[in-house]
């Protein structure tokens, strides 16, 4: 976490889902044009706790359960946003994108451009991402690269409660469409225990974290580990253990893919000379390749070694040993770092 001097001490800790909900509630109180639509977001409170408690305060008109018709309700969110409202629409699992891809890829992402900037789409599309709990190939993807690939979507991926709140405030206030991709394993859900890291102190007041500001979650001198989402915490754990072996790893949390903070990554690599990119998405044509290419374009000479860890171009398998095999874990990160030393 970026620590600043002369600062106010924050003690209160929240889970990532509570922090997300706090930001949404704040924006809904401030602006009547903000509303939330999704499957099981009202009485249930979101399958992954993304709207827990909001129904009580805001009622069914503003916390709207919808038919299982992603094309209709994501498209309706696009239409309402184009009218100037600020809808938040949720894809229960990002894996469900396929049934509504036209609204995401062809309408939400492109209407601003095709209108020459005359139409804005201030829409936040939230989506639960990620695996590690044996839900198999249709419910475990992150698909970061899929959404960062098409021009016109801003893509954010929080890894802590603090970041989740600041990024959510920014997402709702932004005049462009934002994909807000929250990792199920980080939310702090009772039935899906989170690792230690995502629960952090969170200020009560509102604040925004600008997109395109990667956060150095741990400083180090020997290697730069660039990652996002769940794998920030796995990288931090690996860094801790590597420190015992005398390897000092810097962990850069991208926090947003679009816009991408290449400067922070390059600066870190210029210091360490070694780059390890860790991603829970597929390996080819994705985040890892993009980060490596961006650094190479900026300063090829700074790179002494490069490693990338990602899902090795197979669908995410169900069985525990199989899923563990393909999703990078702490030992995989340590091994990748050691290969750079």
């Amino acid at each position: 976490m970026a620590q600043k001097e002369h600062s106010k001490v924050i003690e209160r800790e929240l889970t990532m889902s509570r922090a997300m909900v706090e930001a949404i509630a704040h924006e809904m109180r401030e602006n009547e044009e903000v509303f939330y639509m999704g499957e099981d977001v009202a009485d249930y409170g979101g399958i992954f706790d993304s709207t827990q408690g909001l129904l009580d305060e805001f009622g069914y008109d503003r916390i709207m359960d919808v038919p299982i018709s992603e094309t209709a309700y994501l498209g309706a969110a696009v239409g309402a946003a184009q009218e100037g409202m600020r809808p938040i629409a949720e894809l229960m699992f990002v894996d469900f994108f396929g049934v509504a891809m036209d609204q995401i890829y062809n309408q939400m992402a492109k209407n601003t451009y095709m209108s020459g900037g005359n139409v804005s789409v201030p829409l936040v599309l939230t989506a639960a991402v990620g695996g590690t709990y044996n839900d198999a190939a249709q419910h475990s993807q992150t698909l970061y690269g899929t959404f960062a690939h098409v021009p016109g979507l801003k893509v954010v991926v929080p890894s802590t409660a603090y970041d989740a709140k600041g990024l959510m405030h920014n997402a709702i206030r932004d005049d462009d469409p934002v994909m807000y991709m929250f990792h199920k394993r980080l939310m702090g859900i009772g039935w899906l225990p989170a690792p230690d890291g995502p629960k952090t102190p969170v200020p009560e007041e509102d604040y925004t974290i600008p997109f395109g500001s990667a956060d150095v979650k741990r400083e180090g001198d020997d290697v730069t580990i660039v990652t996002l989402g769940l794998h920030v915490h796995r990288a931090l754990e690996a860094a801790e253990s590597l420190a015992d072996d005398g390897v000092s790893a810097e962990v850069v949390d991208l926090r947003s893919l679009v816009p991408l903070d290449t400067d922070t990554v390059v600066e870190s690599v210029e210091k360490t000379g070694n780059l390890v990119v860790v991603d829970e998405d597929y390996r080819s044509f994705g985040v890892t390749g993009e980060i490596v290419a961006s650094v190479a374009e900026e300063n090829l000479g700074a790179l002494d070694s490069v490693e990338r860890l990602a899902v090795p171009d197979v669908p995410i398998p169900y069985s525990r040993p199989l899923e563990n095999e393909v999703v990078p874990d702490v030992a995989d990160i340590e091994a990748a770092v050691e290969r750079t030393q």
Binding site: S7, I10, E13, G79, N106
Partner: protein, 346 residues
């Protein structure tokens, strides 16, 4: 009952749209002779003209205001004209010019004029969900504006349409879905892809009123739309309308229509909704001379728009890099104060 003045307004919309399509056809084909090269000439790319569809645009949009929202499909010009889209900037867009509605980034299938609530999309039926969203916004804001989604009869088997019908029905949204039935989905006659002859029957599955207008008749469409839009404005929920229109040209310019029987083409040419409306005007006491005057004025407006468009500069190539976002690159200003997060990593 439709007033004489409204008949005149609809007639102007219709002859403007007809002349517009005929003139665009000429402009489009210029530079595409002797060999047809789709990327050549003053208007490149696909061009889907709506000659024969005018009645559905005029009859429905006659009831709409600027604060009502319309989404149209890939064949949008007649609806745009009837909705009051800026004709000069729309034409400049179709010619790919800098002052076009989308600064030359959208083209004829992607026209946006937020000042009059008009948008269109080149993907079949995908304008339906955003129209439902515009209706949702009107409902949430408690205004009496409405939304209209246009689609072709070839789109009624699309999930986006069917999902939108259900979404609009269950939320009682002020939306009217207008299916323009021109008998052909490119080369596919309706009977080969659906057993439902009357597309408005689809409404029954969603407990929504459905109405079909069987003729190319602007007044009949006007009457049906009056009820449907009135119902939406009064907050009594959505309606599905299907209106018979006819396709006087190919699916797109360059379509040889080899799949289409000659008698079908001839029949389409004969059922001319404009001639029918002229007869209506005359029966309301508007003489031939006045009709001709309306027509001449409309033609002149089209000529002016085309002349305007051709006179506009092409976009600077560097503009291709702009307008991906309205708020580049990182959104709102940082408001993050300085915190010391106790318990954070150290």
């Amino acid at each position: 009952m439709v007033s004489v003045n409204e008949l005149r307004e609809m007639y102007v919309d219709m002859v403007t749209a007809r002349h517009y399509e005929e003139r665009l056809q000429e402009e489009y084909l210029e530079g595409k002779q002797p060999a047809f090269d789709i990327s050549a000439g003053p208007i490149p790319g696909e061009l889907h003209l709506a000659a024969g569809h005018e009645a559905s645009a005029a009859g429905v949009c006659q009831h709409l205001r600027d604060d009502d929202t319309v989404t149209a499909p890939h064949r949008p010009h007649h609806v745009a004209i009837a909705k009051g889209v800026d004709l000069e900037r729309m034409t400049a867009e179709i010619f790919g010019r800098e002052t076009g509605l989308g600064k030359g980034k959208g083209g004829h299938m992607h026209l946006f004029d937020p000042d009059v609530g008009f948008a269109c999309s080149g993907i079949i039926a995908e304008g339906c969900p955003p129209a439902a969203g515009a209706g949702l916004a009107a409902k949430k804001r408690n205004t009496d504006s409405v939304a209209v989604a246009y689609l072709g009869e070839g789109a009624i088997d699309q999930g986006a349409f069917l999902e939108s019908l259900n979404f609009a029905a269950v939320h009682d949204l002020p939306v009217v879905f207008v299916v323009e039935d021109n008998d052909w989905a490119i080369s596919m006659p309706k009977g080969r892809v659906t057993d439902v002859e009357n597309g408005a029957q689809r409404a029954g599955g969603f407990d929504m009123p459905g109405v079909r207008v069987d003729h190319d008749d602007a007044v009949a469409i006007y009457d049906a739309a009056k009820e449907a839009i009135g119902r939406a404005r009064d907050r009594n929920g959505p309606t599905l309308m299907e209106v018979q229109v006819h396709r006087r040209m190919g699916h797109f310019m360059g379509d040889p229509e080899s799949y289409r029987p000659e008698e079908d083409q001839e029949a389409a040419a004969e059922r001319d909704s404009i001639a029918r409306l002229e007869a209506d005007l005359q029966s309301h006491g508007v003489d031939e001379e006045s009709i001709e005057e309306l027509r001449d004025d409309a033609h002149e407006r089209v000529e002016d728009a085309i002349a305007f468009a051709k006179d506009q500069p092409e976009p600077d190539p560097s503009a291709a890099h702009e307008d991906v976002f309205v708020n580049p690159p990182s959104g709102v200003t940082d408001t993050e104060p300085e915190y010391d997060l106790a318990g954070g990593d150290d």
